[in-house]
Amino acid sequence: MDKSINKVMGKMDVRKRFRLMLLALAAVLVIGGCGGGNGGGGTTAGNSGTSGTSGGDSTPSAPKTETVTLKMLTQEAAAPVFEEVFAEFMAQHEGIKIEIDSVPFDQLNTRAISASMAGNPYDLMEVNHVDTLAYIKGGVIQPIQSYVERDAVNYESLIFPALLEAGKYQNELYTIPYNTDTRVLAINKAMFAEAGLSAPKTQEEMLEVGKALTKDGKYGFVNAMLRHIYMPVYEQGVFLAARGGHFYEIDANGKAVATIDNDIMKEYFQFNLDLLDIMPKESLTMTEDEGRQMFASGSAGMYIFGPWEYTLIQDAAVDYELALIPAGPAGSSGSTSGGYQLAIGKGSKHADQAWEVLKFMTTDPEMMAKIGKLGLPTAPEAYNYAPFNEDKYAIFKEQLKTSSLPAPPVENYSEVVDKFNEYYEKVLFKNMSVEEAVKQAQVEVQKLLDRS
């Protein structure tokens, strides 16, 4: 009995195997046929090269599109912007899929470096401009110069040249700046109207106006003064920039020299101290978000406003308008710029495909307008497209003319900024006099600059 069952089973196995083989063959033929019909367009050209040489004799020469999945690292706030653009890209490029790994802003470095050190780099990544040099020297990102030359992309004509320079090292292009920013002064219209005031033109006027507005639980100005190490050089740094100051400069020999122990810096520190009189007490400890909320709720007359604020305070109770950063004693306005760049991870297994994505995003002005949404676009032509062709961006375009980086980033930029911040903080907490702070900061910051 058992034997007969085995016999039957054995026979069935053979039959089953035969049927399965036939089915598989039929499936291959059908799929191959379909592929032959679609594949002619070759929309995934450039990424199918890795699919191997089958050299088969009977199958049609249909390209076997192997889907490549790219990993991109970005900060959480930028993820929706990239999702929108990637959807367009993937619709046009069947063989490439992009997965976004979004992390909070302060974890961007941790994630990028950990992945790179673990030998599992991101194919595409967003890099804060202050970290670009460290990423290049640390081998976290790779040069894209060869791709740019191969595809004859003329970035010089597409992107503001000064911004493009920030992505170069030893005449090789590593990153494409995809957004930039600048900061202006937001004015609470109701508070100003009630007090019969207009937007201050100079920093001296700003203090006077602020004093007039500071009453009945409301304040002249609000900003998170210390919560982030970059606050004194970027957000509050606008007042230093408008005075024509920098906390270090690069001299004619290419050496970074601290420029702190001077009258401009002393006046800047003193101005910040004076500002505290027209600010809420918790300005020294509040987070950026708490500062924003206070302005959005209508409790403060003035606030430093970057283009990203449009998305962050959409439902604000306050009716506001924007003005140029009040001028310093020399009479001209000024502000600080920063921004983010896009790069290909060094060691990426899909660098070719990553470049295709990068090119797609950064060579079309309309696309540059889309990805520039969190700040301002880096392509002049992008300002002809929505939303940057709206009036509300005119003030930023105007302020950009007098904006600059707080200082040209050096390798240990974060350490240098942290040291500067230490003395700035001591002054604001009245733990050290302005005179003493600038003297000591000059020496300590220079020591760090000498190491870079």
Binding site: P280, E282, E415
Partner: protein, 298 residues
């Protein structure tokens, strides 16, 4: 040979996979970290070179580590004192079977299961200048001198982060101590009372020795967790004001991932571990002696 293999080698072979996993998961990262601390490895120098004790010398000369260590010790010991105080008190309250104590038992778990970062944000909002509910409560009772922002004051900021962490962590001490306390024979306590023992006699000579070993174990765990805590401080103060709350974990994060100086961060972490081991060993010996003395007296 066969007997020897069975008795000596075979058990070791069975242990080998487990030991290998432990070596890979626990020891390798530590050894690697130790190795980095003797190099100039950073994001800028992946092909790190041996620099001997240079990182350690720099750290000790700069004074940043010393300041941070001081903050860490203040933070850790303040936490431990309050954690044990509140934890043991709560354990006795739970044992007293007061009205609603079974609800309290479950409510106690909420702070413990809450993520550290959420705890940080919650307490930041509660203590915010003028707008915080607890800030206004403290002000009403005159517990805040003058018109100050708690987070701008060195003492205030440290107390704020300590209380937030105590709120989050004391349930674990309370619940484990309570579990141990329940195993103390009621007859023993009753007979002691009949023999004329007062309440504090029962506590010091019966209850405390009984819970000592459990309290010791859970306190060690809490000490290590507190010493290495990061989220609450990072969210509430970011290490400020004037680096008062910049404990070693916060400083290490900054040096490794803001300044990309991995070798320096590694050297700091080695020093931090050494300090932690010394403290834990000292406390362990002291408490063990104290427990022995207590048992003898009992």
């Amino acid at each position: 040979m066969n007997v020897k293999f069975k008795r000596m080698i075979a058990p070791s072979l069975f242990l080998l996979p487990g030991m290998l996993i432990i070596a890979v998961v626990i020891f390798y990262p530590f050894v690697r970290n130790l190795m980095y601390s003797f190099t100039d490895f950073s994001i800028l120098r992946r092909d790190a070179g041996y620099v001997g004790f240079e990182n350690y010398a720099d750290i000790l000369a700069e004074g940043v580590f010393a300041n941070s260590l001081k903050a860490t010790l203040v933070w850790s010991f303040a936490n431990m004192f309050l954690l044990i105080l509140f934890g043991v008190t709560m354990a006795f309250l739970l044992r007293a079977k007061l009205f609603g104590s079974s609800i309290l038992y479950f409510l106690l778990l909420i702070p413990w299961i809450m993520p550290e970062v959420v705890t940080g944000y919650t307490w930041k909002f509660l203590l915010n200048y003028q707008s915080g509910v607890y800030y206004n409560l403290l002000k009403t009772f005159g517990l805040i001198p003058g018109d100050i922002d708690i987070f701008a004051s060195k003492t205030g900021a440290m107390l704020a982060v300590v209380f937030a962490n105590v709120w989050r962590s004391f349930p674990i001490i309370a619940l484990t101590t309570y579990a141990k306390l329940k195993t103390l024979s009621a007859d023993l306590v009753e007979s002691a009372m009949i023999d004329g023992a007062r309440r504090w006699h029962v506590f010091f000579y019966l209850e405390l020795p009984h819970i000592a070993s459990t309290l010791l174990s859970v306190s060690f765990l809490c000490f290590v967790w507190t010493y290495n805590a990061f989220g609450i401080i990072y969210v509430m103060t970011g290490g400020g004001p004037l680096k008062t709350t910049e404990i070693l974990a916060v400083l290490l994060q900054k040096i490794a991932f803001d300044q990309f100086n991995f070798s320096k961060a590694s050297a700091m972490s080695v020093l931090a571990i050494l300090v932690l081991v010394c403290i834990v060993a000292t406390i362990y010996l002291l408490l063990k002696q104290a427990a022995k003395r207590g048992m003898r007296n009992a």
